[in-house]
Symmetry: C2
Subunit: 298 residues, 2 copies
DNA sequence: GCTTCTGATAAGTCAAATTGATTAAAAGTC
DNA sequence: GACTTTTAATCAATTTGACTTATCAGAAGC
C-alpha cells in the first residue's frame, strides 16, 4: 500500500511544529482527523514516527528519515502542479526577478513595457542587488529568476546566456585617445583606471581586462554606481570601462567620450539564472528571448 | 490544490498502456472510476493530458511532461515505503546480489551461512557475472547490490569499500622463487605471466601490476577462470598473480607455491555497489560488515 | 485542587471515489 | 451494408474513508 500525499503533509506539519494541535490548525483540519491520519500512516509504514509523552511530541530517528523523504515528495508534487500551470498558461502570475545594478537601469526601461505588452498576465516583481545577494535569495526561494552577468561565480544555479555585452572605454572628451576610432588593450597603458566598489561583478570583469592590458586600478577611488563613475570620468579623474549596454544612457554626460575596442573586444555575458529544480525553466527561456537586443530592435 | 498519488498512478497507467480499459484493469478499478479520476486531474492541472479520439488515446505533449514528473513522484513514494520497511526490519525480504567470478567462490561459502544465521529473514538471490554486466543489471533494477572490486570503472553507482585483497604470486613448486619468503615487483622480470581472459576486472588489475613491474603477459594464453589459471601454473606454463582471497582455496593444487609480495603489496579493493537512489543503502552497509574478513574470523 | 494544556477515542456526517449498467461512436468483419 | 466488437463517457447507486464534534485521560502549571 501507499501513503497519501495528504498524510505526508500532516506528517511534515507535525514534525515542523512539534504539536498535533498546531499542525492541525495549520492544515485546517481538526486534531482528531490529523491524529487518525498519522496513526494510519504509522500503521502503513510499520514504524512509530512520533513519541507521544502526553505532554510533548518527539519525532523518532526513523521518523526523521521518513520526514525528509516526505518533504522531497511534497516539493515534487508542488513542482508538478507548477509545471502544469506553466504548460497551460506560460508566463502568467508572479515572477520575482532579481537584476544586478549594472544591468537594471539600462535594460529594464525597454524590457518591461515589452513584457507587459507581450505577457499582460505576468506580474514582474523586481529586486536590484549584487550577484552574491541575488543568488542567495534565489536559492532560498525568495526570487524566481536572475538577470546578471554569467562570468560571476554562480554555484548551484542553472543558467542560459542571452547576449554579449562588449566593453568600451569612457574618457574625458579632451583626452588624447578620444579622437581614435578603435582602441587596443595596450592603448590603456599609463592611464588612471577608475572602477566600481567591491561586490559589483562588473568590477571583477573590468579588473580582469585591466590585468590582461597590464594596467592598474587608480588608488583611492571606487565608485558606488556606474553613473557616479561616469561623472568622475567626465570630470577628468581618469578613464573607465563601460559596458555597451550602459553607453546609450551614460554617454550623454557632458565632456565624455566613449571609444570601442578593436575586435575581439572584451565582453561580459548577460544571461538568466534559476534554481535547477525550478519547473519554470521553459518559461524563463521564453522570457529570455524578449531580452536579446536584436529582438528589442524590431 | 494537489493531485493525489492515486490519480498520478492512473495517469501513468494510461500513458503506459495507451488505453483507459487496460489501465483500469491494471489498477484493479473499473474504467469509469479511472476515467473520472483522470478527468479530475485534468481539471486540477488545467490542461488536457490525453487526446481521446473515440478510438485511440494519444498523450499530449504537455501530458508527456507531467507523466514524467508523475513517474518520479511515484518512484519517490515507493522509495519512502521501502525505506520505512528497511527501518522497521532491516535486512529482510529479497536481496538480489551480483558477485564477480573472482570473488564469488572464495567469499560466499563463508559468507552465506553467516548471513542466514544473522539475518534469517533475508532471502539472498545470487547472480554471478563480470563487472560490466552486473552494473548494467543493477542500473536496470534487476539487481539490488553488487559485490566486486572497486578498481573497475563504476559509473552511476554508489559504492563502499570493505577490505583490501592483496595479490600474491603463484608459481610451480619447482620454481626458483618458490623458496623466497617475500617478493618484490622486480623479481617477476623475465617470468612468463599467465592471466585471465578479457572482461575480468582481475585481469585489468593484474595487468596494471605487471605494467609497473615491467613484465609482459605470456602470449597465446588466457584462462577463462581462476581455477583453470592455477592448474596451468601448477603444470609449469608460467606464473600468475593470485588475490589472497583465492589463495586458501586455490593453493591446495598440487605442485603449486604461493609467495606474498613485500610491503606495500599490490592489492584490489573489495566493496559493495548500489544504485544511488536505493533506499536500502543503510541496509547494505550493515550487510557489508559481515563481509569484512576480521568479522569472518571471529 | 484547579485549570489548562496535551493526544487518543467514539460516534456520526458527508464528500468523493468507485461500481455496474448504459450509451454513443468508431473500426473491423462477414 | 448490417453486425459485432471495442472504445471512452455518462448516470445512478453504493461504499469508503476522511472528517467533524464531543469527550476522555494524563501531565504540567498556578
Amino acid at each position: 500500500m501507499q501513503p497519501t500525499l495528504r498524510q505526508l503533509e500532516y506528517l511534515v506539519a507535525v514534525a515542523d511544529r512539534g504539536s498535533f494541535h498546531a499542525a492541525a490548525r495549520a492544515c485546517h483540519v481538526s486534531q482528531p482527523g490529523l491524529s487518525a491520519q498519522i496513526q494510519q500512516l504509522e500503521g502503513l509504514l510499520g514504524l512509530r514516527l512520533f513519541e507521544r509523552n502526553r505532554r510533548r511530541v518527539l519525532i523518532t530517528a526513523e521518523g526523521e528519515q521518513i520526514v525528509q523523504r516526505a518533504r522531497e515528495l511534497l516539493a515534487g508534487a508542488a513542482h508538478l502542479v507548477e509545471a502544469a500551470r506553466v504548460l497551460s498558461a506560460p508566463l502568467t502570475g508572479r515572477l520575482r526577478l532579481g537584476v544586478i545594478p549594472t544591468i537594471a537601469p539600462y535594460l529594464l526601461p525597454q524590457l518591461l513595457p515589452r513584457v507587459r505588452e507581450r505577457y499582460p498576465a505576468l506580474r514582474v516583481e523586481l529586486r536590484e542587488g549584487q550577484t552574491a545577494e541575488l543568488v542567495a535569495l534565489l536559492l532560498r526561494g525568495e526570487l524566481d529568476l536572475l538577470l546578471l552577468a554569467l562570468e560571476a561565480r554562480l554555484a548551484g544555479v542553472e543558467s542560459s546566456a542571452l547576449f554579449r555585452d562588449e566593453f568600451a572605454v569612457a574618457m574625458p572628451a579632451s583626452h588624447p585617445l578620444a579622437a581614435r576610432k578603435r582602441l587596443a588593450d595596450s592603448d590603456l597603458a599609463g592611464e588612471s583606471i577608475l572602477l566600481l566598489e567591491d561586490g559589483h561583478c562588473l568590477r571583477d570583469q573590468a579588473l580582469a581586462v585591466c590585468d590582461q592590458a597590464g594596467v592598474e586600478e587608480a588608488a583611492n577611488f571606487r565608485a558606488s554606481s556606474l553613473p557616479t563613475l561616469v561623472q568622475m570620468v567626465a570630470a577628468g579623474s581618469g578613464v573607465t570601462l563601460l559596458p555597451s549596454l550602459a553607453v546609450a544612457v551614460e554617454a550623454r554626460a557632458a565632456n565624455l567620450a566613449v571609444v570601442a575596442f578593436r575586435d575581439p573586444a572584451p565582453y561580459r555575458t548577460i544571461g538568466l539564472a534559476w534554481r535547477p529544480t525550478s519547473p519554470r525553466a521553459d518559461e524563463f527561456r521564453l522570457l529570455g528571448e524578449l531580452m536579446i537586443p536584436s529582438h528589442r530592435a524590431d
